[in-house]
């Protein structure tokens, strides 16, 4: 798909040229501008052939995310009768990377990092364990599979890291990672350091594959701001 990532690395946006018959799926609220011939429809973020129970599950996750603080689980789909241009942008300052997904490969994307996808890419919600929800670090993942284009956004810069063996990343710094990697969410040094160190939760990866890591952490911004608020 013809696309341009502009104004990076601090304020990147994604500009896509839509052709007739091609569909772009984007995160809710990401649309910046579009040509008048582009048509937008809104859907619950579930695969197109998903069954009834999956949709109920997706709705439940959407509700949980809303309560616990997170983005909506709705997506917008854009099509154009003729040639049409559309621009999508993430909420936070940072960059966008394009990932070409091939059949048989999966990419796990932290939900806040998902920007858009096209082609036969399906996106499904996965929870990285209950503990991540209650820990407030919210490692809620979108499992992206199929064949097509995928765009993910980072808060701050984004670094691809080729892992061969084991590697540990703070959950707040994870953008996306190869589905071939095993991962486990844990605290850095037991329950005591989890509660008192402020170091939060980390994700331990094992195997071979790519991890995209972002240079900023939204949680860190929030915890910096929180004590400064007037009571």
């Amino acid at each position: 798909m013809e696309h341009y990532i502009e104004h990076g690395p601090s304020f990147a946006w994604l500009r896509v040229k839509l052709r007739p018959g091609v569909e772009l799926q984007g995160e809710a609220g990401a649309m910046v501008r579009m040509d008048p011939q582009v048509v937008m429809t809104t859907h619950l973020n579930a695969p197109k052939n998903a069954g009834f129970f999956y949709k109920i599950w997706a709705l439940l996750v959407a509700f949980m995310r809303k309560v616990l603080g997170g983005e909506t689980m709705f997506v917008n789909r854009f099509t154009s009768a003729g040639q049409g241009e559309i621009v999508l942008a993430p909420t936070l300052s940072g960059h966008i990377i394009h990932h070409a997904l091939s059949a048989g490969r999966r990419l796990f994307v932290q939900t806040g990092s998902y920007l858009a996808s096209a082609g036969a890419v399906s996106t499904q919600v996965r929870l990285g364990g209950l503990r991540t929800l209650f820990g407030g670090e919210g490692l809620v993942l979108l499992e992206c599979s199929g064949e097509g284009d995928l765009w993910v956004n980072s808060y701050g810069g984004v670094v691809p890291i080729e892992v061969n063996g084991s590697f540990i990343v703070d959950t707040g710094h994870i953008v996306a990672f190869d589905g071939a990697l095993d991962f486990k969410v844990k605290s850095v040094g037991g329950i005591k350091s989890f509660l008192f160190s402020g170091e939060g939760l980390v994700c331990e990866f094992r195997g071979r594959g790519t991890i995209y890591v972002q240079s900023r952490n939204l949680k860190a911004l929030v915890s910096w701001l929180s004590p400064l608020l007037p009571s």
Binding site: M31, D35, T91, K219
Partner: protein, 229 residues
């Protein structure tokens, strides 16, 4: 006078260079530094232009700080440097013989006295979308300093374009505009997260920003502890 902009795109700083007797008006919170040749006066707009109600309208409906500061050069080499609150770019729009400029209230930073800044009431505020839609109208001649959240894209519009209201910085008068829902229906528009969009038609200049301040505020805001009172 002229504006010099440095450190675009992320952390822009604008410096107004004033000749003796010249002045620049700026949003009260924007001042970073003043050279010693500058006198400061706080007022509610240029003297003699508009009564109290017009000024109050500018302050309360325009969403801009009610008080603008006027910086006047007493001696040669006077400079005033200005910065917006958020990370992003600044740009100068030159007003002259062309059309006046409609500016999203929070995008306005500064202008000399030769530019008249007035409000245009834009109807619904924060309905569903939480995005305020208030425009200031800048007319006259001289440079107008604008700020963006993120980078700025300048578009020479010729035709029609749909822009999310939170991404509009400014556009020249003469472009037809209407507020529209983003999707097919109202419920869909609400769920889509887009709320309202501006449908712009015609020819003119349009400035849009790559980030949406309201959206950023909501994203961070819901994660902050609740105010106790």
């Amino acid at each position: 006078m002229h504006f010099e902009i440095q450190y675009n795109p992320a952390h822009s700083l604008a410096t107004a260079h004033l000749n003796v007797g010249e002045s620049v008006r700026a949003e009260a919170s924007a001042m970073v530094s003043l050279s010693s040749q500058v006198d400061v006066a706080t007022n509610t707009g240029p003297a003699g232009r508009g009564g109290f109600f017009q000024k109050a309208r500018r302050g309360f409906l325009g969403g801009e700080s009610f008080f603008q500061n006027t910086y006047r050069a007493r001696g040669p080499g006077a400079t005033v440097s200005l910065a917006p609150q958020l990370c992003g770019s600044m740009v100068v729009h030159e007003l002259g013989t062309g059309p006046s400029l409609l500016i999203q209230a929070s995008s306005y930073v500064a202008a000399p006295d030769s530019v008249d800044v007035d409000t245009q009431f834009q109807g619904f505020r924060g309905f569903l979308s939480g995005e305020s839609l208030f425009f200031l109208r800048a007319s006259g001649y001289g440079p107008v300093l604008l700020n963006a959240f993120g980078a700025i894209e300048t578009i020479d519009l010729d035709g029609e374009l749909i822009v999310d209201t939170g991404h509009v910085v400014a556009f020249t008068e003469g472009i037809e505009y209407s507020i529209d829902k983003a999707g097919g229906g109202w419920i869909q528009s609400f769920l889509s997260g887009e709320g309202f969009v501006l449908r712009l038609r015609g020819r003119g200049k349009l400035y849009i920003q790559t980030r949406n301040p309201t959206e950023f505020g909501h994203t961070v805001g819901v994660m902050l502890p609740a105010r106790s009172s």
